[in-house]
Symmetry: C2
Subunit: 691 residues, 2 copies
């Protein structure tokens, strides 16, 4: 993050009193593969189209904002435009790559209404994407009533979409044609908490499409700051998406902003194949670097265990008592936490998450109480002081848990004290939660008020040198570049659904990386070895639709700098051979290669451990067993490596035989080929160490 | 601080409907040496008197509070009383002793007005002190108009006093009879910043007296929280002090408090000799332990150097420019700071204070501007990022400086960001300053508003794991027990006055420990080797009225867990032999002995290095040369020690020959005698290491 080369050539090509009304302005990507055209519609709207290697990606699509004072969506004239080029490489604090190149051509267009009111639209054209945003000048306040951005696709593409929900990001993804988008036919086997689907033909971003020629297009946003989340309404006849921004509590208002203001970036990612989307870094490039200089050595990717899964499977509970009487099932008790600390220390984990440590869980859920939790008040059987000393002696950090119960003003009031409490007890990571109807009442989970809250949590934890893992935030948009302490979030349907719903289909974990994860890491919490819930509670019929080898592979396919080994310690100690992969797999990378990918079908990713010459591969498949051939062409020539392969064992199958893992070691060199045999719902994990 | 034995026996002796009106209630100290009597005056005021070993210390003295709703100063009846005993020992995080015993007998008296309004007065009688406070019950708000506490001395004692000043604690101390207290005849050669002396016969606390029998009495306060500072009006005829609490901006109101409320403790310290006052721990015992559990390992006593003295002597400046043009004298520039970091690293100092690092010094002084400094905005020649990395590589910490210019609301608004900025750049200590007229306008430096501010700074820095050194706070009252990160304060006339006033007389540093330092450590900034200001600037006639050996001895006599080596590095490098004592002297102690003392005349203190068997002795005298005989009876029997003695050299004299220091090493054992020859304005420092 500290080393940066930066070149910006900004040339004013169109300033002056030229008439652009009938003119098309063109900007291309640096490699000329993408051509952006900007023009003015007959009724005076800004509009754009995108071509990729001669194929139209977006037909002419309208742009515009409507504010309380001005209509920037029609009746405008192009006043001026500028072009430029930016090319620099920046270092990540952590990530899938050590450094990332940001190379794009810029086009800034400035438009005026007939009353002389001004708006700029800035476009950036990358070799694999186009980004643009609206920029409003001034020094007062603006009330934004609507955004009129369109994305006019050229055909009825295959689409992976989740329904627009103003209160939940925990839906599964459907795979249909654009013409078939319909939330009423969408699988929602369990109601996501507090869902509100305002339009059954609207979808969340990122939404991903595959064109007939195999090109993959994703519509996403970057740097969601001070604005509602971007959802999209589908025109099922014209294959056209239009912006459907989550409003404020006043449904007629999208946002209220201080001027000058710019919207988040709207991005169109364009890759020749599905795998390309996973190494497309445009969303990060469109986020700002951290505005604060200074030491970032306290930010460290980590693996953790924790008191969490045992509550989901019914072995323990978050709450301490019933009707005022301790019921004896409270999991976050001193003795149990020590057990996890011992386990973490023994097997090399950095942290121990403890959920249910603080008072309030007896009535935390959807009560709409203004005050639910006190973030400095542990249950009586949780000795914070003793545990802090114990963890320190074992060189393990306890990870704090702040379930806010969506009582957001209460959390905002307590933040400073809560972070100071963490410091005093040696904690520097926090997992936050927002389960329940949002307070202040009337606000939506993904509206401007909450977006600002989540960003403020990222900033305030940064100022407090605390790493944060947000569960139930707005889905990420690359802001972990700006706040590199914002390690991960859930913001999607995670592992927990497997414990108490119909579960996540095998394809789910092969869809998430191409959709939800485009914006940032997910704390999916993989690594469940005991995939049958009835082993914990005979009455529970739920299963995880995954083999154990598939669980291992998720540590590579599901990128996060924060990875949990989510199962119970006793389940790992029964299978230390397979557990070795979880112990060995890093959480920070120097480079990433996608070896093969079809969204929802299969995915194989190889990553090089940061600063080292070891590679780790994860490969997963859906309910179809398959063999994937890979070539180790990424290894360094002339070096010898040992690969430890964790493959699905004989007759493994996610439905009736999930457990067998076959582990073998082979010596490999650059160019060797491996055939990965994946069971139905299976996977393969490989650790390759240089000898 | 963590180990505590605690016994409290609280016996209700007087509850019920007894008539106490004419009755005296007696409580004694655990060793019976002090007798407290409490009675009711004829007009219904609570009153008390104190006897020490048969000698009256205080004659009958009235007590009482006046609030907007009630007169608790007359017309009352004693309703109930309780007695009890408390005896426990607590561990200090740092200090003059490793552990401190709090052993006292308690008397709680409850009084009622004729309207049934209730007030309690709680007394604690120690073997060497009496403390008491007012306690008001309720759950609403109280407006306190006046406090009617009296201290009726029994004769016209010799008294060391500083004038009551609502805006400054930087006066010298005068030594007169009570009958001669008069601020108009008090030496004020330089106006303390923003002084306001409301009554020429009033004094600050602590005020100290010596009785004819040699007994020393100090009137002080402990735990000054949510109230104005206690000053005292002198009745010069009756030798009687009465409370004169610094008011709020509304001069008719002392404080506004939420109920229940108790005032700070008023204490009468009673010791057989002057030295006893210095090991009287009553003020600490009357302060509360830290209310927050958790790790305190980040709190570490330290020695530091810094960019500070060179500004006082005119070599450099705090400000960067004049009329917008850099003038080249700005001391806090990257290169100069690196020089200090190098020096600190080479000679084993923990920190480097940097004053003048941030923008605003061009017009910081008494401007009454609401915004003067930004605490995250360095001058252009101060590269925070580079210096943070440099300091880290040298294992030295930069000490932050927050001069607030007394623009208190501005500082309160910026605190969180300022502390986060420190964290990012590896700083965990801050020196604060409050030079100028207090904002909000109308408030006094030592009134309730500012007392609350200073305490909030202590709390907020604690929460941020930052150690704080407050210059210009209200003078301390033992709150460093509650907030052990509140390391030290100036709050008195420190070293700096020597650089630009008639200076501090030799007696000044022999008066401070018995007065100002009773409430807490002082960052006096000793260690000036070049005591002639004309070596820096030929026009400057100021001198430090001290020999170099005296400067060394101050590291022991002037207790602080934070000690500066205040002179310029080049002056130390010229005299590395004498400098060795500053390098060796610890800043944290296991035990402290006062070997001899007369206030303002001479003082010899021995302290044992915390956790080790090494002793350090400091001995200082006033303008009179003298030889002090000491006996090393505190050394451990049967052990051999080497003493390195830094004595005034031949013909040393503070006025015309301050520099000679004679250094010699001798072997010593328990019981050995040493004759310390102190020059006029001289001193002697001794480092004794076990062999």
């Amino acid at each position: 993050m500290n080393i940066r080369t930066f070149t910006l050539t900004l040339a004013c090509l169109g300033a002056g009193f030229m008439a652009f009304a009938q003119q098309k302005i063109t900007q291309t990507s640096p490699d000329k593969s993408i051509v952006l055209e900007v023009e003015t519609t007959k009724d005076g709207a800004p509009a754009y189209s995108i071509t990729h290697q001669g194929t139209k990606i977006l037909a002419l699509s309208r742009l515009g904002l409507v504010t309380r004072e001005a209509n920037y969506a029609s009746g405008m004239k192009l006043d001026t435009f500028y072009t430029g080029t930016q090319d620099y490489t920046w270092q990540t604090v952590w990530g899938e790559e050590e450094s990332i190149r940001d190379h794009h051509n810029l086009l800034k267009t400035i438009w005026k209404t007939s009353k002389g009111q001004s708006i700029a639209i800035q476009f950036r054209v990358f070799n694999n994407a186009v980004g643009f945003r609206y920029e409003l000048p001034g020094d007062s306040t603006v009330v934004i009533l609507d955004e009129k951005t369109e994305f006019a696709l050229t055909a009825d593409h295959t689409t992976w979409w989740a329904p627009s929900d103003w209160d939940s990001n925990e839906h599964t993804y459907s795979n249909t044609k654009i013409s078939q988008i319909d939330a009423t036919k969408h699988l929602t086997d369990i109601e996501p908490f507090n869902q509100f689907i305002p339009d059954v033909r609207a979808v969340q971003t990122p939404v991903v499409m595959k064109m007939a020629n195999g090109v993959h297009v994703a519509i996403a946003e970057a740097a969601l700051v001070d604005y509602g989340a971007l959802h999209l309404k589908a025109d099922r006849e014209k294959f056209r998406f239009s912006a459907f921004v989550v409003p404020t509590a006043d449904s007629t208002v999208k946002s209220v902003n201080k001027l000058p203001f710019h919207t988040p970036w709207r991005t169109v990612l364009i890759n020749a194949n599905a795998g390309g989307l996973l190494t497309n870094r445009t969303i990060l490039n469109l986020n700002e670097p951290c505005p604060l200089e200074g030491d970032v050595s306290w930010i460290k990717p980590q693996k953790y265990v924790g008191i969490w899964w045992e509550m989901h499977v019914g072995k323990g509970s978050w709450d301490y008592q019933k009707d005022g009487v301790p019921h004896g099932k409270h999991a976050a008790n001193t003795q149990n936490v020590k057990k996890y600390i011992d386990f973490a220390a023994k097997y090399g984990f950095d942290g121990v998450l403890v959920e249910g440590w603080n008072k309030g869980w007896e009535a935390w859920f959807n009560t709409m109480k203004p005050e639910v939790f006190d973030f400095t008040d542990p249950y009586p059987d949780y000795n914070m002081s003793e545990l802090a000393a114990y963890a320190k002696s074992k060189k393990v950090r306890i990870i704090m848990h702040h379930e806010t119960s969506a009582a957001v003003p209460s959390y905002e009031r307590q933040m400073d004290d809560a972070y100071a409490y963490m410091r005093r007890f040696g904690m520097n990571s926090v997992k936050t939660g927002y389960v329940g109807y949002i307070q202040p009442k009337g606000e939506w989970h993904d509206g401007q008020r909450m977006v600002n809250h989540f960003n403020e949590v990222a900033r305030r934890t940064y100022l407090n040198q605390i790493m944060v893992d947000m569960h139930e935030p707005v889905r990420p948009s690359g802001l972990h570049r700006t706040w590199p302490n914002y390690m991960a979030s859930e913001a999607a349907r995670g592992m927990e659904y497997n414990a108490w719903s119909k579960g996540n289909a095998p394809s789910h974990v092969i869809t998430l990386p191409f959709t939800r994860l485009l914006g940032g890491p997910m704390d999916y919490t993989p690594g469940i070895f005991e995939t049958r819930m009835n082993t914990y509670d005979p009455k529970k019929k739920e299963i995880i639709q995954s083999t154990v080898a598939n669980q291992l592979a998720l540590y590579v396919t599901m990128y996060s700098p924060l990875q949990m080994a989510a199962d119970l310690p006793e389940n790992y100690e029964k299978r230390l051979d397979a557990f070795q992969f979880i112990r060995d797999v890093p959480v920070d990378w120097s480079e990433t290669r996608v070896l093969n990918a079809e969204i929802g079908d299969f995915l194989t990713v190889a990553r090089r451990e940061r600063g080292k010459n070891n590679w780790f591969i994860g490969s997963i498949t859906d309910e179809t067993a398959r063999t994937l051939d890979i070539t180790l062409d990424f290894l360094q020539a002339g070096k010898k490596y040992e690969a430890t392969i964790y493959a699905d064992g004989k007759n493994a199958h996610y439905q009736d035989n999930p457990y067998p893992v076959e582990i073998r070691k082979v010596q490999v060199t650059k160019g060797n080929k491996l055939a990965l045999k994946l069971a139905a719902g299976g996977g393969c994990a490989i650790a390759i160490r240089q000898l």
